[in-house]
Amino acid sequence: MTVVPGNTAGQTDSAGRPTNSAAPATPTDTATPADSATPTDTATPADSTTAATNQPDEIAGPAAVAPAAAAPELAAPEIAVQVKNVYKVFGRRANEAVRKLSRGATRDEVKHLGTAAVIDASFEVARGEIFVVMGLSGSGKSTLIRMLNGLWKPTSGQVRIGGADLAEVSGKELRAIRQRSVSMVFQHFALLPHRTVRDNAAYPLEIQGMAKAERLAKAQTALELVGLTGWEDRLPSELSGGMRQRVGLARALAADTDVLLMDEAFSALDPLIRREMQEQLVEIQHKLNKTIIFITHDLNEAMFLGDRIAVMRDGRIVQIGTSEEILSDPATDYVAQFVADVDRTRVLTASSLMNRPAAVVPMSAGPRGASRTMREAQVSAAYVVDRSRRLRGVVYDSEVVAAVRAGITSLETLVRDDVTAVTEDTSLSEIFAPASESPLPVPVTDAAGRLMGVIPRVALLEAMVPSVSEDHDEPTASEVDDAPVSDALALAQQGAHS
């Protein structure tokens, strides 16, 4: 049995079996070598789900959703940035406009009072999270990000960075917060053209008043991190766009703040360079665990980077959620239209597609039990799991029936482990290969190798169709299901389309 990305290598032995299976209680299981019981093994899948739902919901506001990155072991995510009912209206009668907006007036209705750039924005960003604000130009996202470091003052509402309310602090304190807690990367790089790459990267530290030798050493570390070694003595004008933005990133990293604001940071770059930078950013984020707030108009970029995404339209945040939530459950027609042409295969993961397997046979059931289960579910093959729900392989009806006739009482010899499993966070694009190799639905396992569900091929195909045109595509889906192929999809979703 092979496992597609996401699963750590150490969890399967050379034969492809999980090495740390639970201690067997039934005689049929005793044949498995290298069995050992560890405390964590006793946890059932149900336990982890409970842990996830019991996760305290720290996020305020109706649209807010718990961060996707928050793993169950992270008890209470520390809030790095808190934005509460923030309004920004440009114009002389801004306060009046805010009063009307808060009573439900639209942006156009208050046009005569001022330009409402941001209307009632509320969200919280946990430490170590990548939070993407996505919207088209004029949606207010640039204004919003500039309120997070006090470049703009909100007309009303609160912005808290590390507990300090930016509206309350003095100019000196605000500068201290900018030096210590929140740095920024700009769309057009905003480098000093007359300073070398090294001096540019060291500039925030110069502002902080750090001694020259120390700040240059720190700048060097940051430049190494973004892969600019050897370019330190060049001027920004001698660098390509992608490299200039690396300098911008190195400068923000050298400041060594917890929060990193990125304003359309990769929008001015070529698509290929952009992808490279996105991957590098994710890598750096894993290494340094920065809190990143990323502004973009590119939905694919938002989906690739964001632990959570806030979609903005006309100054309002219309939806906050993980990329999957936004794709599969758009809050408004606007969001639905927006996500219609996203490359869903890169965003959707196995966990959002998987169904409950129709027929799962415990190892202890034996050939007789397996044949009964398959008969009841009207399938011709079934996945076999051990007591801890770890996937052991697959058994086929003909072999099981033959085994029953021959009087064999253990499934051990019948289980075939030539099954390719994927993990829950495997992206859709990587599931096509295993799905095409076998007529069986693709099994999905968690990190410990437990069977979490299966992805029938039909579900894979269905997922490719954007939800806006769902009605239109319904007949096609059932056609596929009714086709003779469905016989081969032995473990098809229980009760679906029957």
């Binding site: 500039r146 470091n149 470049l151 605000l174 500068r175 201290a176 917060i177 900018r178 030096q179 929140v182 740095s183 920024m184 700009f186 769309q187 057009h188 790089f189 905003a190 480098l191 000093l192 053209p193 007359h194 500039y203 925030p204 502002i207 902080q208 001027l235 920004p236 004008s237 001698e238 400068r251 400041a255 604001l261």
Partner: protein, 293 residues
């Protein structure tokens, strides 16, 4: 002060008389202050003139040619040398040095006043709005007109010439400085704020260096305007080439007029090329030039 009717039939508005009585009032009220200003200007002028005129011709030429070589290169140095020799052979060297002293002093004063005003205007929209019509007025008022009140206030000599020149040449210093600072990439200034820099640091390390090419162009303009004005101020008794030009005009002396005029042209080209070369040596200009190469 509406007195007789005009040819258009409208009543006569004596704006000129008002201006004249205002100048008279200013002269009598602040005569003490003006005497002080006059003394300071004369002192500075004499000092600069002494430095330029007292040493032997060749030593001054050597210094100027060396300066041309340093800021630009040997071509400008050779050209300057030829030009200065031509001035000397026309026996206009002393006049040229007097004029150079006037230009140096008046453009320095104009820049000392103009650049801070430009910075202020760049940072404050109200100041910018107020200054704009004032600068328009100063720049478009015929240059000769400035000589009248300055003569009334300071009497004939070098000082009214310098003061009129400062007023006339002030505008581009203010305008170019404001333009340069306002033209600095907003994002770069934002970056300064975003990393917690103070206003004064942003001005020193971001806005002024990035605006420097434009400010240098303004300095060049101030110097060129000063040169044209110090020639005109020969009419009120300022020393230098201007006095010969005015004398040639009065006597219809073609040869003197030509020689003084050519000397002005040579001096103008020298000053223009040197200041342009200085502008190109600003760090930001060099960085951009490197990118283009």
């Amino acid at each position: 002060m509406i007195t007789a009717a005009t040819t258009s039939g409208l009543p006569r508005l004596d704006l000129g008389d008002s201006a004249a009585s205002f100048v008279t009032w200013v002269t009598t009220t602040f005569s003490g202050a003006f005497d002080q200003i006059k003394a300071v200007i004369v002192w500075f002028y004499d000092l600069i003139d002494l430095v330029l005129s007292a040493p032997p011709f060749w030593s001054v030429v050597l210094v100027l040619v060396l300066a041309a070589y340093c800021v630009k290169g040997w071509k400008l140095a050779v050209g300057s040398l030829v030009g200065f020799v031509i001035i000397a052979t026309m026996n206009q060297w002393d006049n040229a040095m007097d004029t150079l002293a006037l230009v140096i002093l008046s453009s320095t004063i104009a820049l000392v006043i103009g650049i801070p005003l430009g910075i202020w205007a760049a940072r404050n929209d109200a100041v910018s709005r107020t200054l704009r019509p004032v600068l328009d007025f100063m720049q478009t008022m015929p240059a000769f007109v400035y000589l009248i009140p300055t003569v009334v206030i300071f009497r004939v000599g070098v000082v009214p010439g310098i003061v009129a020149t400062v007023i006339f040449a002030l505008a581009p210093g203010v305008r170019f400085t404001e333009l340069g600072i306002r033209g600095v990439d907003k994002e770069v200034v934002e970056a300064g704020h975003a990393f917690g820099a103070t206003e004064s640091r942003i001005m020193r390390q971001i806005q002024l260096p990035l605006a420097m090419p434009t400010i240098m162009a303004g300095i060049n303009q101030v110097i060129m305007l000063s040169l044209s004005m110090v020639v005109i101020s020969g009419m009120v008794g300022a020393a230098g080439l201007g006095r010969d030009v005015v004398a040639a005009l009065q006597r219809v002396d073609m040869s003197l007029g030509f020689e003084a005029g050519v000397s002005v042209v040579i001096l103008a080209i020298f000053l223009d090329r040197v200041t342009s070369a200085l502008a190109a040596r600003a760090p930001v200009s060099q960085a951009l030039a490197k990118a283009a190469a």
